[in-house]
């Protein structure tokens, strides 16, 4: 078999944090390579390197034996690499045919004009759609077809340029069972035609059933690439989890009390979360673990009143809590550190001081005109930021944008601290920040718990949950599927629960 793509010691770091380190893999024609690893293991970065989305710091790639150095995604596409993303790259306002031919339309001379040869486009699109098993008219616009069908259109588009390597990154997350089956059949068919495929998935049983060889990644490094026969689900998980937990986490300095702070009873939002029962005690850090799309973030948003729910109730500090809008949640003593601090956590272009003062502004206001007591606000903000050891210039002038990720996250935490909340919901509070800053954030969490606050700690990094939490609750497909006390923490068991072993399709 001939090697289609080979990477040689590829490395890529973001802001000094290595995302991919010395990774060498190869994919052969007519083979499916399964790529597995935890979130943040570096799978997506590796694929972005191959797809020309980001550029390697060091290392080389070769395609069909020739040196390959894509400058941008269009370059990679023209070289015959089809990247089917989690988020699809189709123009929803254009037709299937227009999407397939967007790079270059076949034209015809008509007098002085070069016109698009509509009938050629139509016929060619029909042929391509037939190849991927889609019976849709070529002039249908993308916004009228389902996510699964869109994925097949992407594949048809790749077939149109005669791609030799197909990269599928978590393609089944938004697909129905039938669509998934159809996709798998098509993958087998492409394989039979001698195409090379890289298949990334969290559903390990699917990977086992489809792949010819499997590569496991962890912390940016390739742990192994071996034929599929050498693997079972258990071995894959042990390889993915890897090293044991050392002193990346501060000692927990307090014990949770037996007082219930938050009691979620049977909360259900159709198609999002189902019958959620969850308790957080005072001084307790409860981890909420789940894969992407498991509903953990959605649950957090519901509990804070950003999104609504249909049935069930939430009791906060022994009082029934009508979740309505964030403003009410804040009044009741809930804080929400969102997973995306740029979009929902901070006002990037505004000063650090303004950002921190925003949530607790009512505290510093004198009626009737709501005049802000500037001095009082400033001294509180200053005090809180000092406690968090924020490194910055003049907080009244410096915009948040100019801070590092870790310091930005401290600003987010500071602004919630100022409103003195009883319950903290923290969604991925350490995402994208370096190890040192992570440790500082963990220390703050421990102090918060020590002062009697409850923390609901959402993360896709199992290690940090095991390092910090008193209890870990596991979610999958919108439901709570397991709960582990600190003494019973076991990475394999938690991952097994999250992956819902035995429930995969194939």
């Amino acid at each position: 078999m001939s090697v289609v793509l080979h990477t040689n010691k590829l490395s890529k770091a973001f802001f000094g944090v290595p995302a991919v380190q010395d990774v060498s893999i190869s994919v052969e024609a007519g083979q499916i390579l399964g790529l597995v690893g935890q979130n943040g293991a570096g799978k997506s970065t590796l694929m972005n390197l191959i797809g020309g989305v980001v550029h390697a710091d060091s290392g080389t790639m070769s395609l069909h034996g020739q040196p390959y150095q894509p400058r941008n995604p269009a370059d990679a596409f023209r070289a015959g690499i089809a990247f089917i993303h989690q988020e699809l790259n189709l123009f929803t306002n254009l037709s299937i045919a227009e999407n397939i031919f967007i790079e270059s339309f076949p034209t015809q001379r008509r007098g002085p004009f070069r016109l698009i040869d509509r009938s050629a486009v139509h016929q060619r699109t029909e042929a391509l759609l037939a190849q991927v098993g889609l019976a849709l008219p070529p002039n249908l616009t993308i916004d009228r077809i389902s996510p699964g069908e869109r994925q097949l259109v992407e594949i048809a588009k790749a077939l149109h340029i005669d791609a030799s390597l197909f990269i599928l990154d978590e393609p089944t997350t938004s697909l129905t069972n039938r669509e998934t089956e159809r996709l798998f059949a098509l993958m087998k068919q492409l394989q039979a035609q001698g195409k090379a495929l890289i298949y990334i998935s969290h559903i390990l049983n699917d990977v086992l059933a489809l792949a010819d060889s499997i590569a496991v990644m962890r912390d940016g490094q390739l742990i192994t690439q071996e034929p599929v026969q050498n693997f079972d689900v258990g071995r894959m998980i042990s390889l993915m989890v890897g090293r044991s937990i050392d002193h990346l986490y501060p000692e927990r300095t307090s014990q949770p009390s037996s007082e219930i702070l938050l009691d979620v009873q049977g909360v259900t939002a159709d198609g999002i979360v189902k019958d959620i029962a969850l308790r957080v005690h005072q001084g307790e850090i409860v981890g909420l673990f789940g894969l992407m799309g498991s509903g953990r973030t959605e649950l957090a948003r519901i509990l804070f009143g950003v999104d609504g729910f249909e049935s069930g109730q939430v009791i906060l500090d022994k009082r029934r809590f009508t979740v309505s809008v964030p403003r009410e949640s804040i009044r009741s003593g809930v804080a929400f550190v969102t997973e995306n601090r740029r979009e929902e956590g901070l006002l990037m272009d505004i000063s650090i001081h303004e950002n921190v003062a925003l949530v607790a502004l009512p505290q510093f206001c004198h009626t009737p005109l709501q005049i802000v007591d500037q001095d009082a606000a400033y001294s509180s903000v200053r005090q809180t930021l000092n406690a968090l050891q924020l490194k910055s210039g003049d907080i009244r002038k410096q915009p948040v944008r100019s801070l590092s990720g870790g310091n930005q996250q401290k600003v987010v935490i500071a602004k919630w601290l100022l409103s003195k909340p009883k319950l903290f919901i923290m969604d991925e509070p350490t995402r994208g920040i370096d190890v040192e800053a992570k440790f500082e954030i963990y220390t703050i969490m421990d102090q918060l718990a020590g002062s009697g606050s409850g923390i609901l700690f959402i993360s896709s990094e199992l290690e940090e949950l095991m390092g910090m939490c008193d209890r870990i609750v596991v979610m999958s497909r919108g439901e709570i599927v397991g709960e582990f006390a600190r003494q019973a923490f076991d990475a394999k068991a938690i991952l097994h629960a999250a992956f819902r072993e035995g429930e995969a399709l194939t």
Binding site: L347, D349, E354, L361
Partner: protein
């Protein structure tokens, strides 16, 4: 990066809040030298012209303060001109003391609200105060309607206020059948023209001074517009409302999650915008002595232009009333210079457009420079 002294001066000048003020002074002095009509050639021309230009500035300033608020929350209020027209017409309709049947007998309100002997409050001592309050209330009401439509139905501000603009402009024309409403009470007219402090330049040789040689230094419109600007600046910088406005304009989702009552703030802002338009309508109508259905017709470009020149960003989250005051001064004096140069109205509009483009470029350049600063 090493910067030479000249570069760094230029840079500081560009970032400075007072850039537009400097620009205004340079432009005006330059123009006064080139076009004698603007100033210096005769001793009385300059103060007369300046005093006149200030009178032009106050109503524009009043309405621009409201637009500044709307732009800061990331919206736009296209309906301000129409709010001015409808409030002017409705106020005048109530206050007028004589209406000519030959002009108004085709109005839908002829014989009910409009009669030959004037409006419902014709001749009453309450005509002016009630008229003013009615105009303000109407402006605030239309602003509320705009804000409500924008927040409740999530219609783009551009669309919602465009609808208001067309509707209320048409309503003003329909009520008056395109005629100006005359005979407004003296008390009201004083709001637009009355002097509080006047200046006479020159030797006092005669016992009486001709009216045309006395220049108003502080007039009612000066006080009213300034009070509004100061109130606006106070709201913006000192109150929770102001802080919330900047938060919404910078990132509405972040603001919402941080507990900012986004919808309430946005509605309040459009109400304030309507209020400012009504104040402006009062100043203009009083100065002209009529209720004018075409008031504010071509003012939109001037308002937005002046505010943007003053450093308020069309993308929201940035702006100040101080900047708007400078922007309005710049715009009014620019117009004065263009008129003095005897350019055709078409060219004047083209130049106005060019100036707004430059202001937008300035906005982008400033953002970039400030961004570089942050990384140092």
């Amino acid at each position: 990066m090493k910067t030479r002294p000249l570069q760094s001066l230029l840079r500081r000048l560009l970032i400075s809040e007072y850039f537009v003020l400097y620009l205004t002074i340079v432009m005006f002095t330059g123009a006064a030298l080139i076009f004698p009509q603007v100033g210096l050639s005769n001793t009385l021309g300059l103060p007369f012209n300046i005093s006149n230009q200030f009178l032009n500035m106050w109503p524009l300033l009043a309405v621009a303060v409201g637009q500044t608020f709307v732009l800061i929350v990331g919206g736009i209020d296209l309906s301000q001109g129409s709010i001015m027209a409808i409030t002017s017409v409705v106020g005048a309709m109530v206050m007028s003391s004589a209406l000519d049947p030959a002009m108004f007998d085709r109005s839908p309100f002829w014989g009910t609200l409009m009669r030959p002997e004037g409006g419902v409050l014709s001749g009453s001592p309450l005509a002016a105060p009630v008229g003013v309050l009615l105009m303000l209330a109407l402006g605030i009401g239309i602003g509320f309607f705009n804000g409500f439509v924008i927040t409740r139905f999530r219609i783009a501000p551009f669309m919602a206020t465009l609808v208001s603009m067309i509707f209320f402009s048409a309503l003003a024309l329909w009520i008056t059948q395109s005629r100006n409403i005359p005979s407004l009470p003296e008390d009201f007219i004083r709001l637009g023209t009355g002097d509080i402090v006047s200046v006479y330049l020159g030797e006092k040789t005669e016992s009486t001074i001709p009216r045309r040689e006395i220049f108003s230094a502080i007039a009612y419109p000066t006080v009213i517009a300034f009070a509004l600007a100061i109130f606006g600046s106070f709201l913006l910088n000192r109150t929770a409302l102001g802080r919330h406005m900047f938060a919404i304009g910078t990132n509405r989702r972040s603001a919402h999650i941080s507990g900012v009552p986004t919808n309430r703030v946005i509605i309040l802002v459009y109400m304030f915008s309507g209020f400012c338009a009504a104040v402006s309508a009062i100043l203009y109508s009083a100065r002209l002595g009529i209720g004018q259905p075409s008031l504010g017709n071509n003012l939109l470009l001037d308002i937005v232009g002046a505010v943007v020149i003053g450093g308020t960003s069309l993308f929201g989250g940035k702006g100040s009333i101080k900047g708007t005051v400078f922007g309005v001064a710049f715009f009014v004096l620019l117009l004065n210079v263009l008129n003095a140069a005897r350019l055709s109205p078409f060219i004047i509009d083209a130049v106005k457009g060019g100036i707004i483009l430059l202001a937008a470029l300035l906005d982008v350049t400033r953002t970039r420079l400030v961004g570089q600063e942050g990384q140092l």
